[in-house]
Symmetry: C2
Subunit: 339 residues, 2 copies
DNA sequence: CTGAAAGCGCTAACAA
DNA sequence: TTGTTAGCGCTTTCAG
């Protein structure tokens, strides 16, 4: 058996009851802090617990109470530092409320995501927070409609699933308008795959801000990537610089990791930032302020995003029928030296 | 109740049995893939399962089988990208073996770590992988002696707990010897707190490599920090440059995050890397190759570290009494341009 | 204030 | 091959 080397301490509530000379019900009462137990009795029980080194079997308790006190968090990639801060926020409110957080990396794969949702169906988690691409969420929304989960960062406003995120459209517009104010007219957009809501929203914010300034975005300025890692940004930078005519003077990357890769790629071909090409990122991950030049970027309130998501979920768990609204948190353009 | 909005689909194995016209035992058999069920019976059951949308209650199954099929992973800080790759390795072998990974951030706090160990005691996890500082592990080693866990990166070789890591002493020596070969004689060490085994081992490797070259390390060259974040590296760099006499010409930081902060701090006071000061980091996190100048660092086989840890744990779970040895994986000096 | 007893939903002997 | 039954360890009525 898996736990045969624990058999020695395989002591249960009835052992404790026996040792204390009371019933299991009484032991259970003191374990759960019920007040209707006389002080001397409570002490006898506590003594027996201490003496035996007894530990409650949460599995049994969970079966009985029909809850696992686990919150599932699904991220598409926990190698991306962006998620780390969000996850911290989730974790901290989860713990404050007596839940453990079960963190899973879906790799943005629907199959993996589904298998994690099975944790909910199998009662091993009470609720879930999903940070996966909106497209994936939609694919599962129907079959997961009755499950208690909320969306964070990525969401489908029409899905009826509670969510928290930021106004990506506005944020992208802010970036473009700032670049415009610095005299740029040719602004490139390095975007991620279309499965992401933020990607569509930021693209739209970018295009509209540009056309509001009377500029037609050159399609050659827009690059779609299917990953957010540094290398992808690096190669996108090369693609951009290869443009013979109508080369952009600025680039907006939808993630700091991409932007950092872009800067590196630019340096590789001997271009200076921001003089030859300005670059702006998104997220404001910790390393953004450390590189040379320090990265101008859009800060997301990552920790609050996570905390809010957790609170929405907890609320949904407590009041299953209550309407839980979507909430949008403020972002902020951090102007540093890369643009 | 927490799940009152799921009551509609609160269907159990006996409902399925009834619907299929068989006993619960038979349903259980087909659910668990036992072969001693006639084909027509199996099909009846499967049909009933499908028709009712039944989902097994894992909580009940777990109670019955006395295992949770969860593996706990404790990291001191999942904001540090170093851990991300390790955790991926753990997660992938866990999943391959039918386990879910429960990831927890202890913040290197013994209290938090203890509360996570309680997941084991409460049977909500079958085993654990601990990446916390060796000092913290030791504090808990005695009370956790009978629990199935393994140590990863940080460990106490004498504790009898299976472990996987690298040869930190040797790695630090490699760094120093490389710097020596580049003509450096004055080499600083930016280290983390003494709770970490790697910190003690690298300090020793550093000192011995230096004295093997006939150099006495100036105490002023050695800085101990209590965190690994970028800002700490930045301020350590300033401390170092403030040295009037006997200022070092190279610095070895025990983590890439620190090294990146150092480079940033150096830039802040107008010093160039590597010309004015060479810097070497440790870990080879993804961003290390992206910054300017690209960071020379010691690569750890992070994914393999995680995979190995998971395999050791799984082995320990399968064969509780088997002797599971400690294993050391190879590291590699990545020479880039910062030194 | 305390105890007896009935399950939570499942698996695994043991019978048939 | 299938069903009956006895729990896994706990919480929670319901009596007393």
């Amino acid at each position: 058996m898996a736990d045969s080397f624990r058999t020695a301490d395989e002591i249960s509530i009835s052992d404790v009851a026996q040792k204390a000379g009371v019933s299991v019900a009484t032991v259970s009462r003191v374990l759960n802090g019920h007040t209707n137990v006389r002080e001397p009795t409570r002490e006898k029980v506590l003594a027996a617990v201490a003496a035996s080194g007894y530990r409650i079997n949460e599995l049994a308790r969970n079966l009985r109470t029909a809850e696992s006190r686990m919150l599932l968090t699904m991220v598409p990639d926990f190698g991306n530092p962006f998620y780390a801060a969000i996850v911290r926020g989730i974790d901290s409110v989860a713990r404050q409320n007596g839940y453990f957080m079960l963190l899973c990396d879906t790799g943005a794969d629907p199959g993996r995501e589904r298998s994690y949702f099975d944790l909910l169906r199998g009662r091993r988690a009470d609720g879930a927070i999903c940070l996966d691409p909106a497209a994936i969420q939609q694919a599962l929304a129907e079959e997961a409609a009755t499950l208690p989960w909320v969306a964070c960062c990525e969401f489908d406003p029409a899905a009826g699933v509670p969510y928290v995120g930021i106004d990506n459209y506005q944020a992208a517009g802010d970036v473009v308008r700032y670049l415009l104010s610095q005299g740029h007219r040719k602004i490139a957009l390095i975007n991620s795959g279309r499965g992401y809501l933020y990607s569509r929203q930021r693209a739209e914010g970018y295009r509209n801000a540009l056309s509001a300034a009377g500029i037609d975005a050159d399609p050659a300025w827009q690059i779609d990537l299917d990953t957010l890692d540094y290398a992808a940004g690096e190669s996108a930078a090369r693609t951009l610089t290869r443009l013979r005519r109508n080369r952009s003077t600025a680039v907006f990357a939808v993630s700091d990791t991409l932007a950092i890769g872009v800067i590196n790629g630019l340096r590789g071909v001997g271009l200076r930032v921001p003089d030859d090409m300005a670059v702006i990122g998104f997220d404001d991950i910790a390393v953004a302020a450390q590189i040379d030049p320090p990265l101008t970027t859009v800060a997301q309130p990552m920790r609050e995003l996570g905390e809010t998501a957790a609170r929405l979920l907890l609320k949904r768990l407590r009041e299953p029928t209550a309407h839980v609204p979507g909430v949008l948190l403020p972002h902020k353009l951090m102007i540093r030296r890369s643009a």
